[in-house]
């Protein structure tokens, strides 16, 4: 009785999960695009008041390498790309945290790009990580120079759709390889399996 009802629950649950998954997949791309557009819309007007551009003393190219993780942060903190996008790379950066392309040009958020804010727990997710593995002032200076450069460009899309499509293609590719490898798993078997013998005992033909 209990088993029957739990099986019904499982059946319903599977349908719901499949439907939700499909729905999420279909909704993700437009939702992400809308989110980015909204973020860009919020940030763009704020760019206007920055009339006299401050001079950043860091090196933007080193900042880019730090952002991407090509050069590790000296105290072992994770690279920015783990969670943030800044409109670089074929599939852009992470989407766990906000897009940082225009953060430099936003006077309300510009101050977040500082070692004091990052190490001091300004972000609840980054706080515990960088409290133990401090980012240095020099690293932040290089990042600020890079952020300044990026803030002058366009905000690239999150690439979620492309990421999912390539992943699905890879999945189908693996299935095809599986089919090729195990295509003759019954016809090429050496002799009879115990499975065949079992079936014959019960009047079956063997095989499956």
């Amino acid at each position: 009785m209990v088993l029957e009802s739990s099986k019904k629950m499982l059946k319903g649950g599977v349908r719901l999960a499949a439907a939700l998954f499909l729905f999420m997949g279909l909704m993700s791309a437009p939702a992400m695009a809308a989110e980015n557009a909204a973020a860009a819309a919020v940030v763009t007007p704020a760019a206007a008041p920055v009339a006299a551009e401050p001079v950043e003393h860091g090196d933007a190219s080193i900042g880019e390498q730090l952002f991407k993780g090509e050069v590790r942060l000296v105290n072992g903190g994770p690279p920015c790309i783990s969670c943030h996008s800044i409109s670089v790379g074929a599939l852009n950066g992470g989407v766990l945290g906000p897009n940082l392309t225009k953060i430099y040009a936003d006077p309300t958020k510009n101050g977040f790009v500082s070692d004091a804010w990052i190490n001091g727990g300004g972000s609840p997710v980054m706080g515990p990580i960088f409290a133990e593995k401090n980012i240095t002032e020099g690293e932040v200076n290089n990042l600020r120079a890079f952020f300044q450069k990026q803030s002058k460009g366009e905000v690239a899309g999150s690439a979620t759709g492309g990421f999912v499509i390539i992943g699905l293609a890879g999945f189908i590719g693996i299935l095809i390889i599986f089919s090729i490898i195990w295509a003759g798993r019954y016809s090429k078997r050496a002799g009879n399996t115990a499975h065949d013998a079992l079936w014959r005992n019960y009047g079956g033909k063997g095989g499956r």
Binding site: K68, G69, T160, F163, V164
Partner: protein, 233 residues
């Protein structure tokens, strides 16, 4: 407070259940963890479910485990965006593979009368836990990129803080709900290992599952009802 319970206290409860339970299972019921002649009940869907599921999930689990042991290795590999994308795409493809296999296995349980009859409540429960785990895992991979990096940066330090008996819940407290479900569900999964069919991977040489020829697994009865079955003492 809820975070302290779910990610500060519950891990210890569930890990204790897993360890004590495994000793209990091994000492009282050690030969009951093999499949109940599942191939005899139905073989075709089992193949298309079991192979994708196991190859997908085992590779992903090994990835989680390596990053847990050597998180700096993840940052070293992901040090170029091309390698980061490659790792994430392979993980995503294997995640889809695992989901495909799991859905096939669930479909088999629901539609095949013989398999359905042999399905226990534990099997149903485990399948629910597994589908939650795979769907939330894919959710992390797709909607909260790049999971390989922030897993090594946030979740791994939390796991080590648990093992060092100094739990630091702050590492996971502010992660997205989807991720928190993924983490907590993983602990439930570990806690349930001793009581369900999941014990099949807690064996001395699990790699043999990957390379051995397929075989028919028969029921083991302590008191065989027929004369034909060889008795193993």
């Amino acid at each position: 407070m809820a975070d302290q319970i779910f990610f500060g206290a519950a891990p210890y409860v569930l890990l204790t259940i897993a360890v004590v339970g495994l000793f209990w299972r091994f000492s009282t019921n050690r030969y009951s963890w093999s499949t109940q002649s599942s191939q005899f009940l139905e073989n075709r869907t089992l193949f298309f479910g079991s192979f994708p599921w196991h190859y997908g999930i085992i590779t992903i689990l090994v990835g989680h485990f390596i990053a847990f042991l050597i998180p700096s290795l993840v940052f070293a590999w992901n040090g170029a965006p091309a390698r980061l994308y490659l790792l994430e795409l392979v993980g995503l493809a294997l995640g889809f593979l695992a989901l495909f296999g799991l859905l096939a296995l669930i479909y088999r349980r629901i539609t095949n009368a013989r398999v359905k009859t042999m399905t226990s409540s534990w099997d149903v429960l485990i399948l629910i836990i597994l589908i939650i785990q795979v769907v939330t895992g894919l959710g992390n991979a797709i909607f909260y990129r790049w999971g390989s990096n922030w897993y090594a940066a946030a979740a791994v330090p939390w796991m080590w803080s648990i093992l060092k008996f100094n739990p630091n819940v702050d590492f996971v407290r502010n992660l997205p709900l989807n991720t928190k479900i993924h983490i907590f569900n993983a602990m439930i999964f570990i806690g349930f290992i001793p009581f369900s069919r999941l014990v099949h991977f807690v064996v001395i040489n699990p790699y043999k599952y990957l390379v051995r020829p397929y075989q028919v697994v028969r029921w083991y009865h302590r008191n065989p009802k027929t004369e034909n079955i060889v008795q193993y003492k």
